[in-house]
């Protein structure tokens, strides 16, 4: 099939669209929106065609590579993992772009918006397509840059500019870890080859890296007195990068603030592009995690904790977009948790996690676009001022309801009936139960199930507060134009049925990611290296466990219904400034204060002061001393340079005289 040869166009077309829209967008219809839309549509079609080919023949992955310099290459790799990501990214991005035509119609800076989102998409597609870790990192950084540009899209607002900076700097922490991981990986590979890198081998290409996993695993280094495998360090540093990009626990702080950008950007960041990059990175280097002892356990704990932690905060937020932001963090935590479960289920973890990623992309994009639709029409983001929006915006309401059901994971276990979130999220929770069953450690399961309950509560709280009841303020409001509701409907259909249609096929498809013509990895063998005990054939969970997620989901729905629809409990009494729990949650566990005041103001500032002292007084002192000394000497010496030719003449004559004497002396000596 010739379509494979067009694979390079997938990231290239949106990048080209970026250039065209950025420079010539002003004169075109709707700020040149049609160019990115067209480009991404073509990318999407190519991606889907390639993925269909892959589906029929999963062994034959698309791999093209050409020499870049020395031992590095640029290449394209489309295996099942990349294929589904490509389809998802380009498709969701396409829908968001179409939606943005309506949403951004009043913004004067449309060309910039569409150019930047096109570049964002291109960068993300580049991340997905890369066949080596360095190229992936380059695109990764490009994604970070675009997120900065887009979060700060309304840079006239100080809060937007600050949020953009925060996002950029926070993800940068992760990026530095990622880069450190790459560097350590590279130097380790160098050590393995004893400095003699074989000819014609691109060492940072994934297949080469995976080939060396046993050797990397055998290398050890001592950290804080305990011996750690080099592979674990590298894997955890990679995971650090993923933590930054995917907003996992310590570095999640940027994600809620990223709401400062246009809602479409939020949708793009939260659903299709940026945050999934971290999950994708872990999935992409999954064999490394498999081979690294303890790495997957760390991933699971961080993911599980994030899922729970973020969902508790989601309950009390009043800003509609912020609720969704915390929901994103929580769902990303689920994905990481799912990947961490590779410790018991091996490659199936990638399948489950990526399946959730794809489903999440659909329903989260839908949620955001619905929220955007509401904001567009109501003109506020505060849910306390909404209420009864469902009457004026029926399509939005229905699609939002579908998305909420998908997020909460409603469905009937044991059948093929259910929303997409049901199949993916519940699969993750079941896997955590399996993990508990085999290791006796039920903490990930508890994280998962409690987070599921909270998820259900906050999303239906949002739904009831926004769409039902009576309008709390006079906001007017109208249904959004068809360019906005169209994508909403498509996404709603996908959110509703995608899971049910593809579930088992999807797992099966992705399990073959690392066994094909490009790379062949023996997961069983790697699991032995990593000290994980894989479990096979696990379809005997108790009925209660199968029903548990749906039970907590319904429980969450009922709680929300009682509190926010029927008002059986007066929330205004609970939601007071005196309630410790509420205060804790509303202030987001004071993490802002912790980050700003303790870490930033005291720790970092103190360190900075020390650094400043060293820099300014000692290092600058040396430098300034040298320069001051030079200047002082120059001041003295320049007196000689009077600019009076006579002085020069005097000097010349004196020099000549002395030289002659000197010569005379030397000649006489000889």
């Amino acid at each position: 099939m010739a379509i494979e040869y067009l694979a390079f166009l997938i990231p290239l077309l949106p990048a080209l669209a970026f250039v065209i829209t950025f420079f010539f967008g002003k004169k075109m219809y709707s700020g040149g929106a049609l160019i990115p839309i067209g480009a991404i549509a073509i990318s999407c079609i190519i991606s889907i065609l390639i993925t269909i080919n892959l589906l029929q023949n999963p062994e034959e992955v698309v791999h093209q590579s050409f020499h870049w310099f020395a031992i590095l290459n640029l290449g394209i790799l489309i295996d099942p993992l990349a294929g589904v990501m490509l389809c998802m990214v380009s498709f969701v991005s396409l829908l968001i772009h179409i939606y943005a035509v309506g949403y951004m119609s009043h913004d004067p800076a449309k060309p910039r918006y569409f150019a930047e989102t096109a570049l964002f998409t291109a960068a993300m597609l580049g991340v997905v397509l890369s066949d080596n870790i360095l190229q992936l990192f380059i695109c990764w950084e490009l994604v970070g840059l675009c997120s900065y540009l887009l979060i700060g899209f309304w840079f006239q607002k100080p809060s937007a500019a600050a949020a953009a900076k925060k996002a950029f700097l926070t993800t940068r922490v992760g990026d530095v870890m990622f880069l450190t991981g790459i560097i350590i990986l590279f130097s380790s590979i160098f050590t393995i080859y004893n400095g003699n890198l074989p000819e014609g081998v691109y060492v940072l290409q994934f297949n080469e890296i995976f080939k060396l996993i046993p050797e990397l695993s055998a290398m050890h280094t001592t950290i804080l007195g305990s011996e750690v495998s080099m592979l674990t360090i590298i894997a955890l540093l990679f995971f650090g990068g993923a933590v930054g990009k995917s907003g996992q626990f310590p570095l999640h702080v940027w994600l809620p603030d990223a709401m400062e950008g246009p809602t479409t950007v939020s949708a793009l960041i939260h659903a299709a592009t940026m945050v999934t990059a971290g999950v994708y990175l872990v999935a992409r280097t999954f064999p490394m995690f498999m081979g690294a002892p303890d790495a997957l356990i760390v991933v699971a704990y961080v993911g599980g904790f994030t899922a729970l932690f973020a969902s508790t905060m989601g309950i009390v937020m009043n800003d509609i977009k912020r609720v969704l932001a915390f929901s994103t963090i929580s769902q990303l935590g689920y994905m990481m948790l799912g990947l961490g479960m590779g410790a018991v289920v091996g490659m199936e973890a990638v399948g489950v996690s990526m399946f959730h990623l794809i489903n999440h992309a659909f329903f989260k994009a839908l949620l955001f676009l619905c929220a955007g639709s509401v904001i567009h029409s109501v003109g506020t983001q505060d849910m306390r001022q909404m209420g009864g929006v469902g009457k004026v915006m029926p399509i939005t309401f229905i699609t939002m309801l579908v998305a909420s059901l998908a997020l909460a994971g409603f469905g009937i276990p044991g059948t093929q009936i259910g929303t997409s979130g049901f199949f993916s999220k519940d699969a993750i929770i079941e896997t955590t139960y399996l993990f508990g069953e085999h290791t006796g450690n039920y903490i990930p399961y508890i994280f998962g199930i409690v987070a599921a309950l909270l998820t259900s509560i906050y999303i239906f709280r949002l739904l009831f507060m926004t769409f039902t009841g009576k309008p709390r303020t006079d906001y007017g409001g109208h249904e959004s134009p068809s360019s906005m509701t169209g994508p909403l409907s498509i996404l709603a259909v996908l959110a509703l049925f995608f899971g049910a249609l593809t579930q088992t096929k999807f797992y099966h498809f992705l399990e073959g990611t690392f066994e094909n013509s490009f790379v062949h990895v023996n997961i069983e063998h790697l699991a032995e290296l990593g000290n994980y005990h894989l479990v096979h054939g696990h379809h005997g969970e108790p009925l209660l466990i199968l029903w548990m997620p749906i039970i907590v989901g319904v429980a969450g729905l009922l709680i929300s219904f009682l509190i926010y629809y029927l008002n059986v409990v007066d929330m205004s009494k609970i939601v007071s400034r005196n309630n410790v729990v509420f205060k804790l949650l509303y202030n987001r566990y004071y993490q802002h204060q912790i980050f700003i005041e303790i870490i930033s103001l005291h720790l970092t500032y103190g360190l900075s002061l020390v650094g400043e002292f060293i820099d300014r007084k000692i290092i600058d002192g040396i430098i300034d001393g040298i320069s001051d000394g030079t200047i002082a000497i120059g001041e003295i010496i320049r007196k000689v340079q009077t600019g009076v030719v006579q002085s020069y003449a005097t000097a010349v004559i004196a020099g000549v005289g002395l030289l002659i004497i000197l010569l005379k002396l030397i000649v006489e000596v000889q």
Binding site: G643, V644, Q646, A649, I653
Partner: protein, 100 residues
Amino acid sequence: MIPLTYYLILSSIVFSIGLYGIMSQRNGVRLLMSVELMLNSANINLVAFSSYNDDMSGQVFTLFSIALAAAEAVIGFAILLSIFRMRDMINIDDINILRW
């Protein structure tokens, strides 16, 4: 007859005086006068060698040199005059546009 060395010593003395003038004088006119002295010392050398070697070309060169000295003096004074017109002084110290 007087040894050639005497003339050469005389020439070098005059040259040194001119040199001292060039180095120490701050007045443009005096500078030029010092230059004239140095040129003359060179001329003495030329003529002395010419006579003591019975070779006319030294004297011919002296003629050339005198002509050149005249030209140099004319140009030099023209420049001085121009500077004087511009600045109302010819103190070399104050003509410092070459200075750092």
